[in-house]
Structure formats: structure tokens, C-alpha cells
């Protein structure tokens, strides 16, 4: 049953995207010369990025690499200092008409921003669906299905402020999917999430991309990115270090982790434990 309910939510994701995977049409996201500076610190240092439509895309990088800043600028939450961004062919920062088209086509799950936590999970979905201009009945139908698929039906009447981290991520994901976006942006969707919830989120995302939609998510867990994504972009210190299909970025290295450490220049710090000679089992104190 959940599967059927699920299909109902995404019945037209592929059709709406209008781009069959690999058709070489409009990329999901195109970024040209993007800059953002906070005071003295340059958070995003003139990056160019092309993310193809219909892929599961990982944006990876160490903490402070500029991933969140980049995603915020792509999704219209943070104004860039310089550069041009198009999502599904529409400019994010030009005229209101174009911005409106972008906002209608994307769903986002930001990191570090609140939700309207004094609403119950169900009320939150009802509210955000109606803000998006969907008819009330349709919102309630989709909300019920999403709550079911994400295993939140039992907590739907509890206030979001009382949710656990995993439940918050799931309700945020439901709110981001409610209007059936073409491109979904997720900032650290698995951070602090228990394995069961992570598996649920993963299942939903895999189905969603199979229907032809695009997922862009940021993470610093390489194993996860390697197992989920077919396209990766590696960021460090405000710059893109590599981007392309997973196999290409990984090259002949044993894992994405190894490739990543090499790309961000963090190799050679494996053993730092020589001064800890008292540490070990056996001794009493």
C-alpha cells in the first residue's frame, strides 16, 4: 500500500521535469562565476558548476567548505555578491517572474533553519502546501500519503517542536516534496538521523530520482555519497575541486573517501598518537 500511495505523490515528476535522463537538455542547475563574501572571509570563491537533470547528485566537502552557502544561493535564500545561477533554465536572481518559476520548481530542506515548530507535522504540511497555492483537498491527500510513506502517521498530531532530529528531517522532506518539485535540494539530510529514518529517507529519494527528478544533496559522509549518487561535485575552501560522474571523480582510487582526501589535500595526517603512550588496556589509571 505505501508504494501505491507513494506513486500518487510523484505521478508526474518525470513528465513535469520534461527532461528524460541523459537527453542532454537543460541542466538542472547551472552556476557561473558565483561569489559570496562574509566580511573578511570568502565563503564561495567564484565557482562554476553544471549539474545534469535526472541525476542523484552529491555536493561533498569538509565543514566550512561553502556547501551550505552555495545551496542557499542556488535556492534563493541568500543573495550572491556576483555570478549567475539558473535552475531548470530559469534565472534565480533576475526578475520576479523568473524567480517565481524557479521557486515553484524546487523543494528544499535547509540545515540550521527552523520549521514552524509549533504546528503539528500534519498542520505544517497543510500550511506549506496551501502557501504553494495547491488546492486544499489535494494538499491533505498528498500530506496523508507522505506521512504514511515517511512513517510519521503516528506522530502527525504531535507538535514538530517535540520531534526528534530524524523526524524533523522527515517532515522537512515531506514539506519539500509536497508540491512535486523538479529539483530537490537537501542540506545534510542524514546528519544526526538514526539508521531507520535514514533508510526511509533514502528509499523515498531513490524512488523520486527514478521518476526523472533531480536530487542535489550536501554531505561529508563519503560512503553515503558513494552508495547513493551517480554524480558528485567536490568543494573545499570555497572552490569546486572536481565535478562529474562518480566513477570519473573517483578515478583509479579505491574509494571516494580516498579521492576526496587527495582532492582536498588532507592526506598524511593518519597517525598522530605517538605521545599517547600511556593509553591502552591493562594499566589501572
Amino acid at each position: 500500500m505505501p508504494d501505491q500511495a507513494f506513486d500518487g505523490v510523484f505521478e508526474e515528476a518525470g513528465a513535469a521535469a520534461g527532461t528524460a535522463p541523459g537527453a542532454g537538455a537543460v541542466p538542472a542547475v547551472r552556476v557561473e562565476g558565483l561569489w559570496k563574501r562574509f566580511g573578511q572571509q570568502i565563503a564561495v570563491n567564484g565557482i562554476d558548476l553544471v549539474l545534469p537533470a535526472g541525476k542523484f547528485i552529491g555536493l561533498v566537502g569538509p565543514n566550512g567548505a561553502g556547501k551550505t552557502t552555495t545551496l542557499s544561493m542556488i535556492t534563493g535564500l541568500l543573495r550572491p555578491d556576483q555570478g549567475r545561477i539558473t535552475v531548470a533554465g530559469h534565472d534565480v536572481w533576475s526578475d520576479p517572474e523568473s524567480v517565481a518559476r524557479v521557486k515553484a520548481r524546487i523543494g528544499i530542506l535547509p540545515e540550521g533553519l527552523r520549521l514552524f515548530e509549533r504546528l503539528s507535522g500534519r498542520e505544517l504540511l497543510a500550511y506549506s502546501g496551501r502557501l504553494r497555492g495547491l488546492p486544499g483537498d489535494e494538499v491533505d491527500k498528498r500530506a496523508a500519503q507522505l506521512l504514511d510513506v515517511l512513517d510519521l502517521t503516528g506522530s502527525q498530531n504531535k507538535l514538530v517542536v517535540d520531534y526528534s532530529t530524524g523526524m524533523r528531517k522527515k517532515i522537512g522532506l515531506a514539506a519539500a516534496l509536497l508540491h512535486n518539485p523538479e529539483v530537490l535540494f537537501l542540506d545534510e539530510p542524514f546528519e544526526g538521523v538514526d539508521p531507520v529514518s535514514a533508510q526511509t529517507i533514502r528509499g523515498v529519494l531513490e524512488r523520486y530520482t527514478q521518476s526523472g527528478a533531480t536530487v542535489v544533496f550536501s554531505s561529508h559522509v563519503m560512503e553515503l555519497v558513494e552508495s547513493l549518487c551517480d554524480w558528485v561535485a567536490v568543494m573545499a575552501a570555497g572552490r569546486i575541486r572536481a565535478q562529474g560522474p562518480l566513477a570519473e571523480v573517483r578515478g583509479d582510487r579505491p574509494s571516494l573517501q580516498a579521492a576526496f582526501l587527495e582532492l582536498v589535500g588532507a592526506n598524511g595526517r593518519e597517525t598522530a598518537g605517538e605521545s599517547l603512550d600511556w593509553l591502552g588496556g591493562g594499566a589501572q589509571r
Binding site: L77, L78, A144
Partner: protein, 547 residues
Amino acid sequence: MSTTTATSPVAGTAPVPSLTSTFVRLKLSLLKNGLRQSGGRTAAYIASIVFGVLFAAITVLGFAVMRGSVSAATVSVLVIGTLALSWTVMPLFVPSGDETLDPSRLVMLPLQPRPLVRALLVASLVGVGPVLTLVFVFGAALSVARGTAGVIVAVLAVPLVTAVCVALSRAVAAANVRLLTSRKGRDLALLSGLVIAVGMQVVNFGAQRLGQTGGMGPLEPAAAVVGWLPPAAAIGAVDAASNGDHVVAAARLLLTAAALVALLYWWQRSLVRLMVEPDGSTIGASSGSGAAEKSGGTGLLGRILPGGRTGAVMERSLRYIWRDPKTKAAWVTSLAMGLIVPLFNAFQGTGTIYWACFASGMLGVQMYNQFGQDTSAFWMVAQTLSTTADAYAELRARALALLTITLPFTALVTVATAAVLGDWSALPEALGLSLGLLGALVGSGAVASAVFPYSIPQDSGYKNVAPGQGGLAWMSILGGMVGSALLCAPLIGATVYLHLSDRQSALWLLLPAGALYGALLVRAGLKLAAPRTARRLPEILAAVSKG
């Protein structure tokens, strides 16, 4: 690696310090580090010490002056009773910054309950609060102690009362840790300002009553009871000893000492229990009970309100008034003040019906900083706004939600004030002025929300502005108030003119005129605010996400 240091490095270097001194030092360093974090905090701390010392000095002086008067015993017993009461309720409303007292931080350490409670009690006695309490109690004892017996009992009573106050506070806090670490408890703390405000009104009212009767007579029965309740019983003991009533004095002193022992035992039991049971912060989330609400995402409200953005936004705004502690506190304060001030003045016989405008003034201010009230959740709104028309609909819905409550309330307060004053003829003009002012505030509030957004920190019941945005907040609200008054000038001018030119029969015209003018101001404000909101979404989000 030598064998001696491997087996007992600690014993080999220095003697193990006692638990009590460790806790006292921990408390002092936490205090020092807390102050080092920000200059503002240091300044506030020093200011509170200065204020406290001044207050204590004045109190001791007051007690000294009262020494020997007939009401000295009554007053000192009641003051100490009130002091103990405030120590009791304080942990429930003021989330303690004292990390040495948080049992969840101690749970991993191998500590015995009895030395732990002793150490914690001594550590709790370090601080401005306990020292001020000690001075207070000293003053109270000073006012009643006479003769050798009185002084001897006082010397015992003063430290005893201080210890009981502190132990009382800690024992109550430990027993309520489950409540205090849960979300409901934190919500309760945010409402503390409200409780304090209402409490002050009650005290004020009581003081006025006393002023009218002219003496402490009405308080004597209360003092007789409180004089047997620890810790005020110890002050009662000083009084009894001074009067030569040694048996009563001994009984009261022993009662207080017994209370201290009982409190310490209760505290120790709570601590032991807390260390082996999970804390409350996770319990709410794991139990299946939620808000028992029926019928999908929209309840009764959803069926009454219009569809689309207007209905959704109104519904959320109205729900937040009840569910969000900060919003609730602001609303309850505004509603209470808006009702009390005009009616109180009317009852005193000194008021005019124009005081009723106070209600619309208090409530209209709620329109200010609309997006700041959303906190960083404003991104959910920003994601769905792109055109001026969207922004207009959003702001209009928020104004409508506000007006659903304020319009009937303003009418109610104005009618009630007119009824108390018996001044029915002035009702139309007062109502017209109120509506005009409300419209001016809602309209200017919409503009201020778009142009001067600022964050409202959610963690503290007292901070309503994030650091660095205070000027912005004050400017926006004060400017808005002055601007609204100016906007109302035509209405006020018309009222004054009609009165002076003796055209009383035309004064009723101010009601429709005020309503219409107010509506026009709201519309103009929304029209001005909408494009500014739509253009500045990322800037508004950044401004409301601080802190």
C-alpha cells in the same frame, strides 16, 4: 613509563581535594568563564551586584529603623516568608545558569549521594543571591532581636534561614528537573515575565489596600501563621526569645532546623533518582500521545477561514498566538494591559473614555516585526513568495489574523470604559479614534516588518531582540508609534475642532470616519510593504535568523 605513575598518578603527585572545595572552585570558574564570554554580560553582572548591594543596604537600614516598633515582628516574618517563597518558585521560572547543579552532568562521575549533596549545598551558597539573602535575613533578625537570648537565637537563625532558602530552591529544582528539562517546562520559563508582571500588580494592589487601612493590622493573622513556617519560623524564634518566650523560641528554631534536614534528605533522594532515570527531555518525544486533534491538517479554524494563502497564514498566525510561548506572552500582556489601564482609570473616577485607545495601541504594536516572529522558519514563507502580489496576500492575511482579535477587543474595551464612566455620548468618537489608531499601527507595522526586520531570540524569556539589533527594534517601534500618532492627527484634529466649535451633534461622524480612515491606512501600509518585502526576502531572512 614508571610503574608508580602508571598505577596511581594522582596519589603520587598531590592529595585528592575534597568534593566540596572542588565544586566551589568549579562554580567560581564557571562564573568567571561566563563573564569572560561577553563584556555585556560582565557589565550586567556588575550592575546587578551594585543594584543588589544598594537594595540590601536600604533594606537593612529600613529594618534598623523599624527596630523596636510594634509591627517589626509582623513585617520581618512576612518579608522572610516572601523571600523563601521566591526562592521556591525561582527555579521553576528562571532557568538556572548554574551548571554545577545539573545532575545530568554529574551522572558519569563516581560520587556518593551524601558528600555530593553537602558539596552542592555549599556551592549553591556561593553567589550574589545567597549573599543578598544573608544580608536580608540579617536585617530581619536585627529588627526583632533584643537582649542576650534574642541575639544568641539570631546568630543561629541567620545562617540557618539562608541555608533553608537555598536548600529549598535546590530541592524544588531537583524534584522538578523532569518538568524543567522538557519542552513544556521551557515554555513555562518563557511565561515567567508574565507571572512576575501579574505578581507585581497583586503586590501593588495589596500595598494600596494597606495604605488605605493605614497600618499592619490586617497582616497580623498572616504573620502569626507564617511565623511557624520554616524558614520564617527562625525569625519568629528570634522575636519570641527577645520577648522571653524561650519555649516557643526553641520550638520554632528546632522546626527550622528540622526543615533543613528534611529538605536535604528530599534533595538527596531526588538526585539519586535522577541519576538512574532518564531525563525528561526525551520522554515527550517517545510517547505516542500528541495533541489530540481531529480531521486532518485543518481543524475548526480551517473550515471558517478562507482558502489559499490567506486562510493558511491566518490559521497559522492564530495558532501561534496560543501555542508559541513568546507570542502568547506578548498577546496576553497586551490584552491584559489594554483592558486594565482604561478600566482601572475609569474605576478610579479619574479616567476619560479616550484611555480606551490604549487597547488598540497595545494590540496594534503586535503587527510590528511580523517576520521576526517567524524566526528563521521565515524561509518557508520566503520560498513561496516571489511577486509583490504574493507578499501583499501574505501581509494582508497576517493583518487579518490580528484584526480578528483586535477589532472585537477594541470595541469591547471602549464600550466597557464608556459603561463604567457612564459616558455613552462619547462612545462613537472614542471608538472612531481607536479604530483610526489601530489602522495606523497595523499599516505602519506592515511597513516596519518589511523594512526593519529583527530576530527574536527564542531561548530566553527576557531577550526579545538579538544582540546588535536593539537599536533597530527600538527605532522601528518608537518611530512607528510616533508616526501612527501623526497619522491620526487629522482624526484628533477633527475631534478637538468639533468639541471646541460646540458641534457635539456631529461627533458621531468620527466613528465611520475613524473606521474608514483606519482601513485606508491598513491598505496603504500593505501596499507600501508588499513590494519591499518581495524585493528583500534574502535580507529579511538573514535579519530574522540571527541569534
